[in-house]
């Protein structure tokens, strides 16, 4: 187990208010806050685009982030929108991975972000923390996957 470093991170308070705080011990939150930084994005700022190295892992504090897919020859489509509490940029949890989607702040947005490498290292050091990060991540990804499946059937397109 890794002991939290002395001194409170300035981001801990923000982190504690996010829904993900529920799954972590206070000590874990402190550790996470240590590697996190707060970023403010003006509307229309692009956070990353396909091909970029997947360096950062994000949590939305306020505002909105749109994930957009660009299919050549077609207008770009927003496929998901993220708001307070949502996590994104999961690619950063994998080693040497790249982005395959565009993330844009669709209005003035504040995020907490941490480096994927730092987070992976932290998880490696503290398996209890690692387990919670990964099971939380799994829960969110599983829900996203389920939502995606629902969208596959283009359900609103039916009669009714």
């Amino acid at each position: 187990m890794v002991a939290p470093p002395p001194g409170k991170s300035p981001h801990l308070a923000k982190l504690e208010q996010l829904p993900l705080a529920e799954v972590f011990e206070p000590s874990h939150l402190e550790l996470l806050a240590q590697i996190a930084s707060q970023e403010d994005y003006a509307a229309e700022t692009t956070l990353f685009r396909p091909g970029d190295e997947a360096q950062w892992f994000y949590a939305v504090v306020s505002g909105r982030v749109s994930l957009t897919l660009q299919v050549p020859g077609r207008a770009p489509t927003i496929v998901a929108s993220l708001s307070r509490g949502d996590l994104f940029g999961w690619e950063a949890l994998r080693v040497d991975s790249r982005r395959d989607i565009t993330a844009v702040a669709s209005k003035a947005t504040q995020c907490l972000r941490c480096s994927g490498a730092a987070l992976r290292e932290l998880c490696e050091l503290d398996h209890e923390l690692g387990y919670r990060v990964m099971s939380h991540a799994f829960d969110r990804v599983a829900r996203d996957l389920s939502d995606c499946r629902v969208r596959l059937v283009d359900m609103y397109g039916q009669g009714c």
């Binding site: 629902v150 283009d154 609103y156 009669g159």
Partner: protein, 680 residues
């Protein structure tokens, strides 16, 4: 009063009946079977003939005596006479052919009146019981079919006791025979004893006929004893002793608990799904309604045809087939006949006549199938049990529910691509409750159920998407055109029950239309509905229905970047919108409606109204379950193949429910066991 009647007396009785203005319908030999058909008199009866029956087998045989009713049962009961297999409901005068699309209606005429009243001769106890079942279907509910009612009321019934039940009879199991009980609905009852009949009078009409025969001998006690005790009771005892029985005890629950029994698969391997059982069954009533509008004919007709739950068409709705497998079709028939029937009509749909066994081309025996399931029930799976609600009791409505009015299109508002709202002006005062639907139609193409998406003064709003031929034709109507309208039908959103509660409305796609009336009501009355939230999902921002109106309910939201981001003080209504995908610039939510539900903390104590495609409803309900919302706090609106809209055609059956009559708005617990189940 009872009397004795010789063969000659009986012959004179029939002559009298004919002279009294009745058309005689009685058993007569045709194509190698004894069928009910028009007869001229007693000579046309199958005197001296009987029938031998076995599963999938029927043969005539000479008896060697002069018995007039010495046979068991023909292939079809009097259902044929009371609800003809093909019957015109209304005629609609048509306007001129137009450049495009169907002709519009100009007048509605009732179909022709019947001719002479019928005298139904030779009906057995099981057939009287079947008639009572059909009475419940056609005349016992909130709607009355005037055609059936008229024929039934006018028909003279001469019933006959069964003294020699057939091989396939099991009426003692269903308590519908073999003797015709004194209280049954007959004008005269005959008991055939050798060369004469005992006749019992059951009505004034019957009495008058007997009186017309002059002085008749009264039966002795010994004769009465021979008829009732030795005859009927002995027949009943014999039936009791037989192997073929149908144990009705707890049968609805047993069948609905065994929807996944392997026996259904075994059945499906043998069943031809030909529909014969349903069309020989004296209580089946399913039908389809067709538009008959031949080229350039000046009128079109709405015609009903006997249909069957074994046909493809019966459970089809623009492209979707709810019961594609034979297994599901047979299961539908049996669970309805022996199960749901009880909750719908207060009686089993089986009267033990054995016709479905005899006339099944491969001899499937319903009693055997039930026995097999009863002998080895499978433990109910972890799916919710199917609730079998008591029959709905709604006050009767007057008039012919199949007779449409001609309503005028006042205006057409294009909502979305291929979606319009028709403002329609009905004739006379029209009142409805939000959630109900109307049947809108055009005589060249047919009728479709369309929910009422609002009422503005005398104008009824219907929001329609062009998906099938009929809806496409409706969408193409213009102001001033006329269409046929029947309604309002179905259940409504429980607005009264919602008072004082926080209400969450979850809608998807066009599912907002049936909810709009309720939402308008709640928006207008903050004092009754302290908090109203609408979660609405659509495919894209362009496909958000009623966008302007939604905006007016909650000024804090904005749909499109063009809308000014002015945040007004929100009232008691809060609207959240999500889309499946959007072009850049959209600042609203993207994702399915269930994701939106997770994002907006929802209360376990609120009341929920849900409408949208069935698949969305299922996911929404799963989410509500997670939150811990009780089933009695959720109402949802279902869609199926509504055709008659009054619970008579059988097409929109959903387990024990008729969606048109018991729905479309259901409380979750009523249909929880059925949602997402294959074959329903």
């Amino acid at each position: 009063m009872s009397a004795r009647l010789t063969h000659d007396g009986f012959r004179r009785l029939l002559e009298q009946v004919r002279e009294a203005g009745y058309a005689l319908v009685g058993p007569t030999i045709s194509d190698g079977a004894i069928v009910y058909g028009p007869i001229a008199g007693a000579d046309d009866l199958p005197i001296g003939w009987t029938d031998e029956q076995a599963p999938g087998r029927y043969r005539l045989r000479e008896r060697g005596d002069r018995a007039h009713f010495g046979y068991v049962l023909g292939p079809q009961g009097p259902r044929r006479q009371l609800t003809p297999p093909v019957e015109t409901l209304v005629r609609i005068r048509l306007g001129p052919r137009r450049e495009q699309g169907p002709r519009t209606p100009e007048g509605v005429e009732a179909a022709d009146e019947d001719g002479e009243p019928l005298a139904l001769i030779g009906l057995r106890a099981c057939e009287l019981a079947a008639m009572a079942v059909q009475d419940a279907v056609w005349t016992g509910g909130p709607f009355v079919d005037p055609r059936y009612a008229r024929r039934r009321e006018r028909a003279l019934i001469i019933a006959v006791d069964c003294l020699e039940p057939g091989e396939l009879c099991f009426c003692v199991s269903t308590n519908t025979g073999p003797g015709v009980e004194a209280g049954a609905s007959f004008d005269l009852r005959l008991t055939e004893l050798g060369e004469e009949f005992l006749v019992e009078v059951g009505s004034e009409r019957g009495q008058a006929l007997i009186d017309g025969l002059g002085e008749l001998a009264e039966p002795s006690t010994a004769q009465l004893f021979a008829a009732r005790t030795q005859g009927v009771l002995a027949a009943a005892m014999e039936l009791h002793g037989r192997e073929r029985q149908l144990d009705l005890d707890g049968l609805p629950e047993l069948l609905f608990a065994n929807l996944d029994h392997p026996r259904w698969d075994e059945l499906a391997a043998r069943c031809l799904s030909c529909g014969s059982c349903t069309l020989v069954c004296p209580t089946c009533f399913c039908h389809r309604v067709e538009e008959r509008a031949p080229l350039d004919a000046p009128t079109s007709e709405r015609v009903r045809h006997w249909d069957s739950c074994f046909t493809d068409e019966h459970s089809r709705i623009h492209g979707a087939q709810f019961r594609p497998q034979i297994r599901e079709r047979y299961r539908q028939w049996m669970t309805h006949k022996l199960g749901a029937w009880v909750s719908q009509f207060g009686t089993s749909g089986c009267v033990g006549c054995g016709r479905c066994i005899a006339w099944c081309p491969v001899g499937i025996d319903i009693t055997e199938e039930v026995a097999a399931i009863r002998a080895a029930p499978v433990a109910p799976d972890d799916a919710e049990p199917v609730a079998l609600p008591p029959a709905t009791t709604v006050p009767a409505l007057a008039g012919d529910p199949m007779h449409p009015q001609l309503a005028r299109v006042v205006s057409v508002r294009e909502e979305l691509r291929e979606v319009v709202t028709l403002a329609v002006e009905p004739v006379g005062v029209f009142s409805h409750a939000p959630g109900q639907f109307n049947m809108l139609g055009l005589p060249d193409v047919g009728e479709v159920p369309i929910s009422i998406s609002g009422q503005a003064g005398g104008e009824l709003l219907h929001t329609i998407r062009a998906v099938g031929a009929a809806s496409r034709a409706l969408v193409a109507l213009e102001a001033g055109d006329r269409l046929t309208l029947r309604g309002p039908f179905g259940s409504a959103w429980p607005l009264a029950e919602l008072r004082g509660h926080n209400v969450v409305v979850i809608a998807g796609g066009l599912g907002l239309a049936p909810l709009r009336g309720a939402l308008r009501e709640m928006v207008a009355h903050p004092e009754r509905y302290p908090s109203v939230r609408l979660l609405y999902g659509a495919r894209s921002p362009e496909e958000l229905l009623f966008a302007d109106e939604i905006l007016s309910w909650d000024r804090s939201i904005r749909f499109a970047p063009t809308t000014a981001p002015a945040v007004l003080e929100s009232g008691h209504v809060k609207v959240h919108v999500t889309v499946d995908g959007a072009a850049p610039g959209w600042t609203g939510h993207v994702g399915v409606v269930t994701k939106l539900m997770r994002r907006k903390p929802l209360s376990a104590h609120a009341r929920y109204l849900v409408c949208g495609p069935e698949i969305m409803i299922r996911f929404v309900l799963r989410e509500l379950e997670t939150i811990g919302v009780a089933q009695d706090q959720v109402w949802l609106s279902m869609e199926r193949n509504m055709k008659c809209a009054v619970g008579m055609c059988g097409r929109c059956q959903y387990g024990p429910h008729f969606i048109c009559k018991d729905g479309p708005v259901f409380r979750w617990d009523a249909i929880a066991g059925l949602l997402g189940r294959e074959g329903f």
